[in-house]
């Protein structure tokens, strides 16, 4: 589905990712783990196109998308939930969702589906997103991404700031969506247990390099924790 090949990414003069390579299997989940500042978010930003790699390539289903603008990648089936509960603060919850559904075939149904996943949002449709609580905004962000009916979903710590019962739902949703087929996920998670359970493959990122990788599943937990504890 997604092949990342030796990308080097940075900000200004500083280099954050030093040749990272990674694959997301079709209809599967790849999880990226690592300490604060390891470069996980940077990796996702490069994949969606907010940052341009200086070297290396990003391929989606074999097509080289390294030079495409973010909206072109979205048009090719990528969706991205950034870290930090981002929203369009002055648009209402409804507008935040409508914005993405605009001009999209089946947008209306996709919106309804997303709302079914996060029923709490239904009561907040008229409230501006900037006034929502952190967790409400995060739910909105995930819903927004799902409306595009992506083939590849990039999730940056999607459960951060969300109440435990909803976390469990989100986790189940991700598992269900991938299980249904047609969706691959690149997941950045601190919740090692969940990440490994969902993931076919995990990658541990340290200082902008992949220091450890392997097949997912609960069995990998010891290895991952060891890698993270270095």
């Amino acid at each position: 589905m997604l092949q990342i090949d030796g990308i080097q990414v940075g900000y200004g003069r500083s280099v954050v990712l030093h040749g990272v390579s990674l694959d997301v299997p079709a209809d599967g989940v790849a999880a990226v783990m690592g300490h604060n500042g390891a470069g996980k978010s940077t990796l996702l930003r490069a994949v969606i196109g907010l940052l341009r790699p200086r070297q290396g390539s990003v391929r989606l289903d074999g097509e080289d998308v390294t030079r495409l603008a973010p909206h072109e990648r979205v048009a090719r089936g990528m969706a991205y939930v950034p870290q930090g509960q981002q929203s369009f603060p002055h648009l209402t919850t409804a507008e935040n969702l409508q914005l993405v559904a605009d001009g999209r075939r089946g947008g209306r149904e996709a919106m309804a589906e997303a709302l079914d996943l996060f029923p709490a949002l239904r009561g907040l449709m008229g409230r501006r997103a900037g006034l929502l609580s952190g967790g409400q905004r995060q739910q909105l962000a995930i819903a927004r991404a799902l409306i595009t009916r992506p083939r590849l979903l990039l999730l940056d710590e999607p459960t951060e700031g969300i109440q435990p019962s909803v976390v469990a739902e989100i986790q189940q949703t991700v598992l269900a969506l991938t299980a249904r087929g047609g969706l691959s996920v690149l997941l950045v998670e601190q919740h090692v247990g969940f990440a490994l359970r969902a993931a076919e493959r995990y990658y541990v990122l340290e200082s902008g390099r992949v220091t450890s990788t392997g097949a997912g599943g609960a069995g990998a937990e010891q290895a991952v924790r060891a890698a993270l504890a270095v």
Binding site: S41, P164, Q190
Partner: protein
């Protein structure tokens, strides 16, 4: 650590209303000095708004006092000078300034004009201590904007330390932190908490279990439940609105992996 009630945070019938919607709807809360109180509750329960009200960011009715002094109605900076500090759900530090400068500014609200107009000739003792405590001593000259997410959050806590606040209000301090970092932060809370009053908003139940001394659960702007970790966890209403079926470790997801995760949590 002295007496309780008058020394700590005392909130009575606190109400915050936005355009007819009561985000905080008559909350009573007493956090004695020396306590580490966790504030939990569903998304949108009013936790952040409560802290906003106590720190002067939003207008509220009712009463909130610390060490016997009323807080409501005062401007933000005055409340801060009364020894009340907070962090934000998304870390905010002065990105252009170095770690040291960030701390030095935080330490300096009480400085007189003469000191302000002079150059910093040496690192103040409390700043140096805080640098050590938060583990950023070797990054003290680095612009804070280049720190990673978690480091920024520590820096914020460090800023509260040098401010010498008596009441710390931390809004999801470990969100986005890795396992180990969470533990380190928890330890930090223990260190910082000596002689201070701490209120932590969190959704990380492991973290709560490990470091909370007492817990208050908010729901729909009201206090739903209050007590020890065990009491609160056992409260069926809390399970219904907040914890869900997974009454144990959320970080491992559902019950299937709970055991493993619990073990992992202890191991770190």
């Amino acid at each position: 650590m002295t007496d309780t009630t008058t020394d700590g945070l005392r909130v009575r019938d606190l109400r915050v209303v936005f355009d007819g919607f009561a985000a905080v709807d008559g909350v009573d809360l007493t956090v004695p000095s020396g306590d580490i109180r966790f504030l939990i509750g569903p998304n949108g329960a009013g936790k952040t708004t409560l802290v906003d009200a106590v720190t002067g960011l939003v207008r509220a009715s009712g009463s909130a006092s610390f060490a016997g002094r009323e807080l409501l109605g005062r401007p933000v900076h005055r409340i801060a000078r009364m020894g009340i500090g907070r962090t934000f759900q998304t870390a905010t530090v002065f990105e252009e300034l170095s770690v040291l400068q960030n701390l030095d500014i935080a330490a300096g609200a009480g400085r007189g004009p003469l000191t302000m107009l002079r150059r910093r000739s040496s690192v103040p003792e409390n700043v140096a201590e805080a640098l050590e405590t938060i583990g950023l001593a070797d990054r003290r000259d680095q612009p804070a904007g280049t720190l990673a997410h978690g480091q920024k959050q520590w820096l914020e806590i460090g800023m509260l330390l040098v401010q010498d606040v008596r009441l710390l209000l931390l809004d999801e301090p470990v969100a986005g932190m890795s396992h180990e970092e969470r533990d380190a932060t928890g330890e930090l809370l223990g260190v910082v908490g000596r002689g201070r009053t701490i209120v932590v908003i969190e959704h990380d139940m492991d973290f709560m279990r490990a470091y909370a001394r007492s817990v208050t659960v908010l729901h729909g702007g009201k206090v739903l439940s209050e007590g020890t970790v065990a009491q609160v966890q056992a409260d069926p209403r809390v399970q219904a609105v907040y914890l869900g079926e997974a009454t144990t470790d959320d970080r491992a997801g559902d019950g299937a992996a709970a055991g493993a995760a619990g073990a992992a949590a202890k191991e770190a």
